[in-house]
């Protein structure tokens, strides 16, 4: 893309928010006729843990590869610390990657794998052993220094890959679904370790995953991608409480999408009505299952929306019960604290403020 065709909004080169480490400016990527990324703009603050979340084929890995330098954007620019990044070859970028299948060099030992980056980028020879030992200590792999990666378990390979990527002290670490090959327990443990490592080192992490739980647990902010476009970029709490679109509401956590009609500030959905400051017309509301409560006697909130529904199905899951409610033919999912078996019709309520208007 030439300067002339880039948007005037982005004009002065080195600006942007003061602490933005990485700026993705209006980046698009096509493979032949297939448009994989559609004009993505994204800023990552220094020291931030940002997760690119999306289904497979949403373009998240492609965006990562553009930042790493393995692919070139079809249009748009990528900047890091006030420098143009997308015109540099991968080996000149102060960005390192933890690959999905670790991509450890099979012909080198753990120690040689970790020192690789220092050797090829011309670090002072005397400095190398110390920094390698430091990196291995950081991921608790010092005792495996002489092993070959093929002899290690998945979790151990993961640690080596992390040490190898961190030894060059990158400004930005890219992680491409690094935990997807690990079993559930190890995964949880590695999530915790990743998070504390990131806090300790203060390195900016750009993490790619398709697992929304993982994204919620780890991230300072989540960038949700759908079909090559950004749906929403926000903190986990924000994105959960105020999803911008119906897709976001469904992808992050569970939700009920209520397709309602608004007329002069009054929402009508089936037999239910409540007040909301929305323009007239059709509006979709997202109502989280846990926002629906079982009415116990005379209930509390003043803007409570009350309704009576039949419990169609009840699934016990330890601390909570998942209910499927039948409200005059409409299905509603609710999650309530454990409370024994329910059947037949019961009274329920939710707060009008918990029904969040979302775009299609």
């Amino acid at each position: 893309m030439t300067l002339a065709s880039s948007s005037p909004l982005q004009a002065p080169a080195a600006t942007g928010s003061a602490d933005a480490l990485l700026e993705v400016r209006n980046v698009a990527k096509r493979f032949g006729a297939r448009e994989v990324l559609k004009h993505i703009s994204l800023e990552i603050a220094s020291g931030e843990f940002l997760t690119l979340l999306g289904e497979s084929g949403s373009g998240k890995t492609t965006l990562l590869r553009l930042i790493a330098g393995f692919e070139q954007p079809s249009s748009g620019e990528i900047w890091m610390s006030g420098e143009r990044l997308d015109t540099l070859p991968p080996y000149k970028r102060r960005v390192n990657t933890v690959f999905q299948n670790y991509a450890l060099f099979p012909h080198l030992t753990v120690q040689e794998n970790v020192s690789y980056g220092l050797q090829v980028s011309g670090a002072a020879k005397a400095e190398i052993p110390g920094r390698v030992a430091e990196a291995l200590l950081m991921v608790k792999m010092q005792e495996f220094a002489a092993s070959r990666p093929t002899k290690l378990s998945g979790g151990q390979q993961q640690r080596v890959a992390l040490a190898r990527a961190l030894v060059n002290r990158p400004k930005l670490l890219l992680l491409d679904e690094p935990l997807s090959a690990l079993d559930a327990n190890l995964r949880k443990q590695m999530q915790g370790e990743l998070k504390s490592l990131q806090r300790e080192l203060g390195i900016t992490f750009l993490f790619v995953t398709h697992d929304q739980d993982e994204a919620m647990t780890l991230s300072d902010r989540i960038a949700l991608l759908k079909d090559g476009a950004l749906e929403q970029v926000a903190s986990p709490r924000e994105i959960y409480a105020h999803p911008a679109t119906s897709y976001t509401a469904q992808f992050i956590g569970q939700t009920n999408l209520l397709r309602a009609e608004v007329r002069s500030g009054v929402v009508t959905w089936g037999s239910l009505q409540w007040k909301a400051a929305q323009p007239d017309g059709r509006v979709i509301f997202s109502l989280r299952p846990e926002a629906i409560h079982l009415a116990a006697g005379s209930s509390s909130a003043s803007d409570a929306v009350r309704f009576r529904a039949r419990v169609q199905q009840q699934i016990f899951s330890g601390s909570s019960e998942h209910l499927e409610l039948d409200l005059a033919g409409q299905l509603l999912r609710a999650r309530i604290p454990t409370r024994g078996s329910l059947s037949g019709e019961h009274d329920f309520w939710f707060t009008a403020a918990d029904a969040v208007a979302v775009r299609e």
């Binding site: 393995f70 080996y91 999905q100 299948n101 991509a103 012909h107 980028s121 093929t150 060059n168």
Partner: protein, 281 residues
């Protein structure tokens, strides 16, 4: 799972094959190498004089060393041709990969003899090369040293064996996971470092297999010296051929054959060990 009769029946053909066409001939060759020729007849008298002759008569060792020099030359040249080709095809050819692959394979379908004669027509004093050189006035008289020299043998065998070197090399390059190349670049390795530290070491098993092909096949070649080599480039297999033919000294021929066989086997053994050591999957 399978009955004994079934096992016996299916293993019979390979056993017969190996026995009749491999073990028996080798046994005969081995036995002959310890016999001798007296008054134009092979006498079944066990002795070591054939092996002694190998070391006493300098001609044999000289020819053997020449053969190994030619084999080394062919190996080196076909690696120099085959590696860049395989590297380019594996990493940069893109959509042309399949077409190029076919183009490398096609010469293998052409008879060895036809290709030998083709080189004769190219290199000869009335040949294409001399004609061209005279036409562009580089030379006035036809040059005779192109043909009938060790150079011509190396040239022809390099042409013939380069595909054999290429194939295992290409296979090993194709097997290198591409994310290793990306990992190297990601860690700061330019093209040179990535090639020397990642691609080359990981392609060593293929390189070794290809080199072994070229070396061993050249070691046993006798047609190239006959077609384009001339007397100055007689190779060890030519000597064996003449000992079994016109010279009628089968025992000496067998002794030389056994020596070459031992040389080849130890070479294969060595490269196999190295290949195992250098493969990491």
């Amino acid at each position: 799972m399978y009955s004994r009769a079934y096992k016996a029946i299916v293993s019979l053909p390979p056993i017969l094959w190996v026995g009749l066409f491999l073990l028996l001939p080798y046994a005969l060759m081995f036995a002959h190498s310890f016999w001798m020729v007296r008054e134009g007849m092979i006498v079944h008298q066990w002795n070591l004089q054939n092996y002694a002759k190998l070391f006493q008569n300098p001609v044999y060792l000289e020819v053997l060393f020449r053969t190994m020099r030619i084999a080394a030359g062919v190996t080196l040249l076909s690696l120099l041709l085959g590696y860049p080709l395989a590297y380019y095809m594996s990493f940069h050819a893109g959509a042309r990969k399949d077409l190029l692959y076919q183009l490398v394979i096609v010469p293998l379908w052409v008879s060895y003899l036809v290709r030998g004669y083709a080189w004769k027509t190219i290199l000869g004093s009335e040949g294409v090369l001399n004609g061209f050189l005279q036409y562009i006035h580089v030379t006035r008289e036809p040059l005779s040293f192109f043909l009938y020299s060790p150079f011509a043998v190396v040239l022809m065998l390099t042409h013939i064996y380069t595909p054999f070197v290429f194939l295992p090399l290409y296979a090993s390059l194709e097997h290198i996971p591409r994310n290793l190349v990306e990992a190297s670049q990601d860690l700061g390795g330019g093209s040179r470092a990535t090639f020397l530290r990642v691609i080359l070491p990981l392609s060593l098993p293929g390189l070794l297999a290809g080199a072994t092909f070229a070396f061993v096949l050249t070691l046993g070649d006798f047609l190239a010296p006959l077609l384009v080599g001339g007397p100055s480039s007689i190779m060890i297999a030519n000597i064996v051929q003449s000992l079994f033919g016109t010279a009628y000294d089968w025992p000496l021929g067998a002794a030389i054959s056994v020596s070459i066989l031992l040389l080849t086997i130890s070479l294969l053994f060595l490269t196999e060990r190295l290949e195992k050591r250098w493969s990491f999957r």
